[in-house]
Amino acid sequence: MGTTSVGSFFGSFLRDTLAIAAKDLRSEFRTKEALNASFAFSVVILVLFSFAFDPSSEQLQTISGGLLWLVFSFAGALILNRSFARELQNDCLDALISSPAPAGALFLGKAVANFVLLMIVELASLGVFGIFYDSRFGAQLGSIALVIALGTWGITVIGTMFSALTVNLRMREMMLPTLVYPLLIPALMAAMTLTTDLMNGTPFGKDNTIWLRVLTGFDFIYSILAVVFIDVVLIG
């Protein structure tokens, strides 16, 4: 029914992506298991770090970006691990793959859902960070939000892809972090540096646009690679 024009292909691809994203979000908002665990974990990390560093010191200013992204990436792992794993129950993954939805839509739908969930946890954590460490970053809020969004998309793309890759392995919980964190190093380096600069009041400038380019390049390259290879990973 209907012609297979490029337009209609993209239309149905988008519809499928949004359907999958909506399903994942609906599931998660109903139980809130991963959201709660993730947020609780990030608060714990922030508390523990307050014992390691004097929150009012100069030291904090230089490590704020690093600290935040450590919190984001560790707390994010809890959400990302569940991404494809939640489909294993009742054999839902098979039903999704055998449906007409392309594997790329399956992947992007889950990535979008993960992105939303991660952003929620991160923005909440950012608030907690501001309170615990008396950090003022209102001036650069827009830029900070942009960096967080870009960095989070990087974590999401890699995390979702490897969630799919490890879904059927017996050591899934161990393999996911082992594979994902080394790959995230360039994105995290960039995000950490940019965030530290922004939180200390330095806007985007000659010095750190390189990192902005690294981050966007990372996101772009891996988004494409993921959509290209998801078929191989899920089906064969």
């Binding site: 359907a19 599931s27 054999d91 839902c92 098979d94 039903a95 793959i97 007409p100 089906i235």
Partner: protein, 236 residues
């Protein structure tokens, strides 16, 4: 020939795990409207073949086509319905939400309406907003069947459909299958329950060590003596 565009053609399909041939040179044409009972011992290759037909796995060699189009094509997948071991439903979503998602993925313009139709057909419209997690076993199975038949597939794939069903559920399933057969659907089911399957089947295929040991029409002799095939063509 009429009906040919709905025939399933398995053309020299092989599947290797390393060098081990799980399926070897399977050549089979399943005519439209027939009901094929796929027989064979555990490990013979039935599930492997069914997964390839369902588009869940790629053959190492050979192709599977429906009316000339590859089985992994989006159009073809729309015409295939799959019911495996798991019910392929999300526990934390309601019956209506579950069916709506799959109606969306199968391209219905009004997925909610389609979902509602099928909820009525399987008698679950009163619990449409109940979470699947709270359903009884029988209700879950009925919903699973609704999901599989939702998009009016011309080709139905069942992996051991009679396993772990009580007598009442078996009767219901048999009714559905013979109804589908009368409506001209093509049905392929792998099974151990010889008698129930042979009753419905028009054709049988016996897989042994990854190869097609026998294929042909289901004869009355087979019905009288279900073990006949295994003794004649198997290697017991």
């Amino acid at each position: 020939m009429p009906g040919d565009e709905r025939a399933l053609e398995i053309d020299r399909v092989s599947k290797y795990y390393g060098h081990f041939p799980a399926l070897r040179d399977i050549q089979l044409k399943i005519a439209a409207g027939s009901t094929l009972a796929l027989l064979g011992r555990n490990g013979a290759g039935k599930t492997t073949l069914l997964r390839i037909l369902a588009g869940l796995s790629k053959p190492s060699e050979g192709t599977v086509r429906v009316g000339g189009a590859d089985v992994r094509d989006e159009k073809t997948r729309r015409r295939i319905g799959v019911l495996g071991h798991g019910i392929s439903l999300y526990d934390e979503l309601s019956a209506a939400e579950n069916l709506t998602i799959f109606a969306q993925l199968y391209g219905y313009a009004d997925p909610r309406k389609r979902a509602a139709e099928w909820l009525e057909r399987v008698g679950l419209e009163r619990v449409r907003d109940g979470l699947v997690r709270e359903f009884s076993r029988g209700m879950r199975q009925r919903l699973a069947v609704a999901r599989a038949f939702l998009h009016d597939p011309e080709i139905l794939l069942f992996d051991e459909p009679f396993t772990a069903l009580d007598d009442r559920a078996i009767a219901v399933l048999q009714g559905l299958l013979s109804g589908a057969h009368s409506a001209g659907r093509t049905i392929i089911m792998s099974t151990h329950q010889l008698r129930e399957a042979l009753l419905l089947a028009t054709h049988v295929a016996l897989i042994q060590r990854g190869q097609l040991a026998y294929t042909g029409e289901r004869t009355p002799e087979m019905l009288e003596d279900p073990g006949y095939l295994y003794r004649t063509y198997g290697d017991n």
